[in-house]
């Protein structure tokens, strides 16, 4: 079975080719303007490439929103005999399907983006770490890499520039935590995929101790467009503090689930109405944005446009961009229980706050699901969550309490009445 998500938007940049070209034919990508960016890149100074990306304002699309150009600059400045680039395609965040679509629908866009990044930072080896569940993505990307090598877009002396770059696929083993960049690196080194203590950060000391850039599929897929059309073009899309388009996935109680691309100038309510054809089965009660560890947004919050600045101001994040809509017939406690079970299973167990905390969160949420929870249970749950926000060593433990804290804030009455 070939997986095809419904593409809900029409005015697309990253999704432009998807469904319109044969992903397994490099010629079709080239005809659509593909590999022009790479040609331009290899005639540019490496630092100049990084400057263009920095100027564009591109931020990491894997959820952390770190400025991509700044990340690249760390590795560019690091002195080492070997540098690496890793494309993080361990897409495991519930509700998120964008990386799969980008890999299976337009793999050369990604390969071109990775190669440009490698050139900029001076990496001669790169990997695409794809989760084991995505067999079709692995096969498609492997086939595309082979074609790119045959056409001289990868391998030795790329496009006659003297730049060598070798790219291969690494396969995950069904562990959500490996999407965390240092866990991913440990997994690639043949170890248990457990996050490292930071610093040092990967751009300075990553894979096999060498400077390593880890970027998300969507982030890297943006790069060829920025190189061809320029940073000013990119900056002019959407709100000034959140340039560029973002992929969002609509799922849950919407009439038309699927994937869409839009500048950050629409509210989530507008996205649900315009692209998802509205909420199904009732009125919207809340939406969880950005996957299982994402914040819970009330209907009032959904009415706002969540630019990067506003997210910072209210200390929320849209993470990977999944929009998970729940109608007014859904129970917030049931929702929390599913989320809590997910994290109890996916906590890697390396640090105590997360290993024990995710387990305790599930236990307490279960109390409420069974109708046995009390006010003091809820207070304990909140305290536990606040401790976990500060103490685990990686983002999983810190972020997995977000939906619980939000639910306690917005739906305290419902939780206690359950």
């Amino acid at each position: 079975m070939k997986y095809n998500a419904k593409i809900l938007s029409t005015d697309n940049v990253l999704l432009k080719n998807i469904g319109n070209i044969d992903p397994l034919k490099i010629e079709e990508y080239v005809t659509s303007g593909g590999y022009e960016a790479l040609k331009k890149t290899v005639s540019m100074d490496r630092k100049e490439v990084i400057d263009v990306v920095s100027d564009s304002g591109l931020r990491g699309r894997g959820g952390a929103n770190f400025p991509t150009g700044r990340k690249w600059l760390f590795t560019y400045n690091a002195q080492a005999d070997q540098k690496y680039i890793i494309c993080n395609a361990d897409e495991g965040e519930p509700g998120t399907v964008k990386d799969r679509i980008l890999m299976e629908g337009d793999p050369h866009q990604l390969i071109e983006g990775i190669t440009i990044a490698a050139y900029a930072i001076g990496a001669t080896k790169g990997f695409i770490y794809i989760r084991g569940e995505y067999r079709d993505s692995i096969n498609t990307v492997n086939a595309a890499i082979k074609q790119a090598e045959e056409k001289g877009m990868l391998g030795k002396n790329i496009l006659g520039s003297g730049f060598d770059f070798e790219l291969s696929v690494a396969m995950g083993g069904g562990a959500y935590i490996c999407g965390e960049e240092t866990a991913l690196i440990d997994s690639m080194e043949g170890k248990r995929g457990e996050p490292r203590l930071k610093p040092p950060y990967p751009p300075v000391e990553g894979l096999f101790g060498k400077p390593t850039i880890v970027n998300n599929v969507e982030t890297l897929s943006n790069v060829p467009h920025i190189i061809v059309k320029g940073s000013e073009w990119y900056r002019n899309i959407g709100a000034s503090c959140s340039p560029g388009t973002k992929l969002f996935m609509l799922c849950g109680d919407v009439n038309e689930p699927g994937i869409l691309e839009t500048p950050i100038d629409l509210s989530f309510a507008e996205i649900i109405k315009k692209y998802g054809k509205g909420t199904s089965g009732g009125e919207v009660k809340f939406a969880q944005i950005g996957g299982s560890s994402g914040n819970i947004f009330t209907p009032e919050m959904l009415e706002k446009v969540w630019t990067y600045e506003r997210c910072c101001e209210f200390n929320v994040s849209y993470g990977t961009g999944s929009i998970f809509v729940c109608n007014d017939r859904r129970s917030v406690v049931d929702h929390l229980l599913t989320v809590a079970e997910f994290f109890e299973h996916e906590s890697c167990g390396k640090c105590t706050p997360c290993r024990e905390g995710t387990h305790r969160i599930k236990e307490i949420v279960e109390e409420f699901a069974f109708g046995e929870g009390t006010v003091s249970d809820l207070e304990l749950l909140k305290e536990l969550c606040l401790v976990m926000k500060r103490s685990p060593i990686c983002g999983l433990g810190q972020a997995c309490v977000n939906p619980v804290l939000d639910a306690i804030e917005y739906f305290k009455g419902e939780i206690l009445a359950n």
Binding site: M1, K6, G92, F324
Partner: protein, 160 residues
């Protein structure tokens, strides 16, 4: 004490030769063995340890970390039903009950004939087309109680 299985040894030797003996190749080797034999046995651990010069404890630590590496023979077809939120909302419960009733086992168990095992998985990126499941590495989406029974029948026919 398990006898040394010539097939297994030859397979692991070929796999290690293909990837190399470096530590970073442990996961690909484990995955190859898992795919070929359905699981990584104690005997396989011993051979991998010998060929790659990694302690058995280390290998076990890695193998047990990744949910796609089995350390016991669970069945020919491992069915992994997604239990995360979007599949849950799309009607995972019905699929769960249908599978348990049809196979006569609970999740976490294997059928007596060794044909099927039922497990849960966490999200496989089919969130807009739930409920979804994996049978070994094959994906199935938009499942209904009827369609999931068709899938089971198809695998039963394959085996005969």
């Amino acid at each position: 004490m398990e006898c040394r299985d010539g097939n297994l040894v030859a397979f692991i030797e070929r796999s290690v030769a293909k990837y190399g003996t470096g530590r970073e190749n442990l996961l690909p080797v484990l995955r190859d063995v898992n795919e070929e034999f359905g699981y990584v046995s104690g005997a396989a651990f011993i051979e991998i340890s010998r060929l790659m010069d990694i302690s058995i404890g280390e290998i076990h630590g890695v193998a047990s970390f990744y949910s796609f590496i089995n350390e016991e023979n669970k069945g020919n077809y491992i069915i992994r039903l997604c239990k995360t939120i979007s599949c849950d909302m799309a009607g995972k419960d019905k699929i769960e009950k249908t599978l348990e009733r049809e196979l006569g086992i609970k999740f976490g168990e294997s059928t007596k004939d060794g044909l099927f095992a039922l497990e849960y998985a966490n999200c496989m990126g089919l969130c807009d087309k739930g409920p979804a499941m994996l049978v070994n590495s094959q994906l199935y989406d938009s499942l209904t109680p009827e369609s999931v029974l068709d899938v089971i029948s198809e695998y039963r026919r394959n085996i005969r």
